[in-house]
Amino acid sequence: MTTQKQSYREALRSGIEQALMEDERVFLMGEDVGRYGGCYAVSKGLIDSYGPERIIDTPLCESGFVGVGIGAALGGMRPIIEVMTVNFSLLAMDQIVNSAATLRHMSGGQFNVPLVIRMACGAGRQLAAQHSHSWENLYAHIPGLKVLSPATQTDARYMLGQALRDPDPVIIFEHVMLLNEAGNVLDKPEADMEQALVRREGTDVSLITYGGSLHKALSAAEQLAVLGISAEVLDLRCLRPLDIGTITASVAKTHRVIIIDEGWYTGSLAGEVSAVIMEQSFWSLDAPVQRICTAEVPIPYPSHLELAALPQVETIVTRAQALMAGHL
């Protein structure tokens, strides 16, 4: 398998470009995706190659253009809708939740909505409380939607294509802290988009995570290895549906679990994963399931407070040590 080094941003752009090349029905639509080049520069230059009919700049009306995307999908197109950040997507939640997610069911299977919505998420850039949140869990709660969280450059490269081939609405969360990260991109996707992957094998504790927290979990695992603790790192990749088989297989191997999730602690996706483990793997556990999530506060602006609010490598290392020592 050959590889190529790309930043996460470049990988996302390659994925969009391939989709545009392969299928004439595909178009990209969103605020500033064309002439400006995308607010995170993901779609920079695409309008020059594909023109304003396929790279469509929209006014600032999230509900309107997401609704247009749903209608276009119903009409046989394959829209990629970009909502700048997860915070703005709340303005389009009516269309996403009440239309995209429900139409197939309410029509008795007659109409499906092959729509992909991309949005940036996550904290770490001192953007304060209206540009830093992680509401993957809100969307992962909703039947009818599929929710992806690419954490690697390879997933950034291929998950979009996989999502476009899916006949149902798919939401892709792209963590802002990953955009400049460079890494190897494989020449093929590693797995079906709905499959969780073990990113590092281990025997003592499972670190279950996704998206922006994956690299933190991997760093923690390296530090733990030095301390003699073998941590397995599991990347969920898809938050709805959850790949429960891969989760339980890991727990059966390590018997201890820490879930790392940038959502708020209460009502987090980590809570859901924890509940699944309680229901299906309780007798495999040697210790209570641990969650490391964001503090219960709107993300603050000052760097030291922002960092304190978020899950960090040190927290994971300390928690894993305590878990292994039987202190939890």
């Binding site: 009306c61 253009f65 269309q95 309410m106 029509s107 988009m193």
Partner: protein, 340 residues
């Protein structure tokens, strides 16, 4: 090719039949609701039939329709069978949405009927999107979007108006202005009560028409559809109408006088066309009686059809939330597996 309007006697009698089918069907629905055969919310279209019947007469089989939760009239006028509409309201699998939607969510792919949407204003951007797909794929298809005047207060109304004009989308917006958003009259919810004027402020061609007169509605809709097909620009039609019944079956109608309702009933679309036909076309009571008995028969058959419809097995509860998995959906992945 442009449609020519043939307002001959046969056409008008047919329009009367279509309106009467909706009227009698819904009167029966109200009874069936009282008998608890139909459950959930039931929003009747009684009084507004001229709009659905007039507009549908201007459309082709390929045109798209996006409707609201008060859509029995749109569905029947579009050509959904009374059987499948009533069975849907009964929640049976032989309903037009397999019983999954009920009264507010009638869908029919064959008829290009994109539903009953129960979120006020929610259908407007969706209709704009269908129009965008038609435009991109160079289909000469018009998308018609029905909504009430209450939707005008929603942000999505304004977003859809802007996008439709900005992007030259072939969509016909039909505002059914029945004067009350549930129980709130227009003047209490809008600073500007001339709705056509609002649409016009976005640069959209807009017109107002007497929504109680099926001929006026058809003529106006025909002009609108022709304009959209010729110019590829959106068009807005405000139909002045009135709902004779409450907002839904739970509405005590404390917000309006009975005298006001009576006044509007006098100029009701069914009554008006009947009177006109009698006056100028020697339309006899015997002819009307024959039409009525045919409709009664159609309704009886529909009730029987709905009663005999199967309930969805509970084993299928979670069906149709997601599409069936397509095994060859990810060619690159398949290739990767083969390489291993």
């Amino acid at each position: 090719m442009k449609h020519k309007l043939h307002l001959d006697r046969n056409h008008l009698v047919n329009q009367l039949v279509q309106m009467l089918r909706i009227r009698r069907f819904e009167e029966k629905c109200a009874e069936l609701y009282a008998q608890e055969k139909i459950r959930g919310f039931l929003h009747l279209y009684i009084g507004e039939e001229a709009i659905a019947v007039g507009v549908m007469a201007a459309l082709n089989a390929e045109d798209n329709i996006v409707a609201t939760y008060r859509e029995h009239g749109h569905a029947l006028a579009r050509g959904l069978s009374m059987n499948s509409v009533l069975a849907e309201m009964y929640g049976r699998t032989n309903g037009c949405s397999r019983g999954r939607g009920g009264s507010m969510h009638l869908f029919d792919k064959q008829q290009h009927f994109y539903g009953g949407n129960a979120i006020v204003g929610g259908g407007l951007p969706l209709a704009a999107g269908l129009a965008l797909a038609n435009k991109q794929q160079q289909r000469n298809t018009v998308t018609v979007c029905f909504f009430g005047e209450g939707a005008v207060a929603e942000g999505e109304f304004h977003e859809a108006m802007n996008l439709a004009v900005l992007w030259h989308l072939p969509v016909l917006f039909i505002c059914e202005n029945n004067r009350y958003a549930m129980g709130t009259p227009l003047a209490l919810s809008e600073s500007e009560t001339n709705i056509a004027k609002k649409a016009n402020s976005y640069g959209m061609t807009s017109a107002q028409v007497d929504g109680m007169n099926v001929v006026d509605v058809e003529v106006a809709a025909q002009a609108a559809v022709t304009s959209i097909r010729d110019n590829g620009e959106p068009y807005f039609l405000e139909c002045q109408t009135y709902r004779f019944r409450g907002h839904s079956s739970f509405d005590g109608q404390l917000y309006r006088d009975k005298a006001e309702v009576k006044q509007w009933e006098e100029k009701g679309p069914v009554k008006r066309l009947q009177q006109w036909l009698r006056q100028y076309n020697h339309f006899t009571d015997a002819e009307l009686a024959a039409i009525e008995s045919e409709i009664k028969l159609e309704i009886d058959v529909a009730i029987d059809f709905a009663n005999k419809g199967a309930w969805e097995p509970i084993a299928d509860l979670c069906k149709d939330v997601y599409s069936p998995k397509i095994m060859d959906a990810v060619p690159a992945l398949q290739q990767a597996k083969e390489d291993q």
